[in-house]
């Protein structure tokens, strides 16, 4: 599903390449729950941003379904790959429904009107994560665990075969962390999604993931 060859990740600044990690070779398949492991600053978030198209690769190739990711339009990529990031969202009267409904952005018309089918997909995504009772609540009124669930529901509403989560357990308590990983494991098993998660919580991840990618010093990458 995702094939990465000789990838170099990092940032371009004033014409200079600031390389963060090089020589990444990976093949990830549908149904995998992949744990991305590594110390702070090693480049986990940079790798995830490069995979999702938020950052351009400095060198190498990323193929999704055998097609170079650079050849996808933003709209096509949005239908293949969704993200859940650490940054908290909120304010502006955003309700749980509003946020989950943004998952339909790649499919709806320019006026942002949801069709009955889109509404059914949003409702189903919320049902899967038991969010329907919170549908009209403001995002600001939710706990951190509930917020993460909302963002995952947004990804489900986006109906992408690949979901990328960057440090999704950062603000969660012990119980919420286990609940979150149980949901992710279920999605991989039942819906064949490829889910890539970065986290510092090794023990927690080991209990749920079926593949791991460990980024270490000196561009050393261990794939299990």
């Amino acid at each position: 599903m995702i094939e990465i060859t000789n990838l170099e990740i990092g940032y371009k600044s004033k014409g200079k390449h600031n390389s963060v990690f090089t020589g990444i070779n990976l093949t990830l398949s549908a149904g995998d729950l992949v744990g991305l492991i590594g110390d702070n600053g090693i480049g986990k978030s940079t790798l995830l941003k490069t995979m999702t198209g938020n950052l351009a690769p400095l060198a190498g190739d990323i193929k999704i379904n055998n097609k170079p990711s650079a050849q996808f339009t933003a709209q096509q990529l949005a239908q293949l790959l969704s993200i859940v990031v650490t940054e908290k969202i909120g304010g502006f009267n955003l309700t749980v429904w509003d946020v989950v409904a943004t998952g339909r952005t790649p499919y709806i018309n320019i006026f942002g009107k949801l069709s009955p089918e889109d509404e059914a997909i949003v409702t189903k995504a919320m049902e899967q994560l038991n969010l329907l009772p919170l549908k009209d609540k403001l995002i600001d009124e939710l706990s951190d665990g509930q917020r993460q669930k909302v963002m995952i529901a947004k990804s489900l509403a986006q109906q992408t075969p690949i979901i990328v989560l960057d440090e999704p357990t950062a603000f969660l308590d012990h119980t919420s962390k286990h609940q979150l990983f149980s949901i992710l494991k279920k999605l991989c098993a039942e819906q064949g999604k490829l889910i890539i998660v970065s986290s510092h919580d090794l023990e927690l991840m080991k209990a749920y993931i079926n593949r791991s990618v460990t980024m270490e010093e000196n561009n050393s990458l261990e794939v299990k």
Partner: protein
């Protein structure tokens, strides 16, 4: 917000707008009801004075409120607005420069050329400041920093404007000070032939950005992942806001309060984040606010014109402060 509620609210706002527009047409130094319709003075007052003023109030109120909403969404900051971020000050400074230039090259007698130059300069000033604010907001993600920079920039531009005013002759200074107080009463029907097409194009254009604006309320990374071209969105919103603020400021002066407060009030009243709803409500509510302010100006001062800025700020700001304290809603 359910479709039926949206339609009902829109119709209610349209009704209020219509009532306010009729009041604005009738109130003034001369009561329109006291003149026979067959009297030439009736049509002269109605078409040459009242109608342009009412239409200008609607255009200025709705346009500034929409700009405020667009900026607040783009910066994801409820305190953003053309006046707070210094955009209106940018327009004012450039209008001052243009006024000086026109005065020195003696083209003010040529209506189209004079007004066009002032408007163009006003748009350039608004565009220039919005671009600086946007560049800063990309370097520094802190909302507080962006607002402080906007306020400082506004102060710097006002200082330059003061310098220009200091160097102006008495006539130019008087014109400019009056313009700076904000007024919807100095626009003619001829001016509106120039303003209305620009206003309509920018308003219609902004409705084509509903979907990306809804997505960017999450954050830029999510918006990009949802297929939004964030850079194109930024540029488009800057152009739309700069043109609207520039045109309105050129003809009405820098009008305070409306740009920041109407979107806040709209969120507090109508409890929706969807931009189709918010844009519609802001357009109507903004027009209602400026019309109300103008009606109050007329009622309080039938013999002289109160500056509209005084009324919008004195009456509108306490209302929004009250709403903010009363409501538990998150506005941003």
């Amino acid at each position: 917000m359910p479709k039926s509620k949206f339609i009902f609210t829109t119709l209610m706002l349209l009704l209020v707008l219509a009532v306010l527009a009729i009041c604005d047409l009738c109130f003034g130094s001369t009561n329109l009801f006291s003149i026979e319709t067959s009297n030439p003075m009736f049509s002269s007052i109605l078409y040459d004075i009242r109608l342009p003023k009412t239409l200008t109030s609607i255009i200025a109120g709705s346009g500034l409120a929409l700009c405020g909403l667009l900026m607040q969404s783009l910066f994801r900051n409820p305190l953003a607005g053309p006046y707070v971020l210094g955009v209106s000050s940018g327009s004012s400074l450039f209008v001052a420069i243009a006024t000086m230039m026109i005065s020195s090259i003696h083209v003010s007698g040529f209506f189209i050329m004079g007004k066009s130059i002032v408007t163009l300069f006003s748009i350039m000033g608004a565009f220039f400041v919005t671009l600086i604010i946007l560049l800063i907001s990309r370097k520094n993600k802190s909302n507080v920093t962006v607002l402080l920079v906007g306020l400082m920039l506004g102060q710097i531009l006002s200082a330059f404007q003061g310098l220009i005013e200091y160097m102006s002759n008495a006539d130019n200074l008087k014109t400019f000070v009056m313009w700076g107080m904000g007024s919807v009463g100095s626009t003619t029907l001829q001016d509106l032939y120039f303003v209305i097409p620009i206003y309509l194009v920018t308003i219609i254009a902004s409705f084509f950005f509903i979907k990306p604006l809804n997505a960017i309320l999450l954050n830029e990374q999510y918006a990009q992942n949802l297929g939004v071209n964030v850079n194109a969105l930024r540029l488009s919103i800057i152009i739309i806001s700069a043109v609207l603020v520039g045109v309105i400021t050129a003809f009405c002066g820098p009008i305070a309060f409306v740009g920041i407060s109407v979107p806040i009030a709209s969120r507090l009243f109508f409890k929706t984040s969807h931009h189709l709803h918010q844009m519609t409500f802001c357009l109507l509510l903004g027009a209602c606010v400026v019309l109300t302010a103008d009606v109050i100006c007329q009622v309080l001062s039938s013999q002289f014109m109160l500056p509209i800025n005084t009324v919008t700020t004195l009456i509108g700001s306490p209302v929004v402060i009250y709403l903010l304290f009363k409501s538990k809603l998150s506005i941003g």
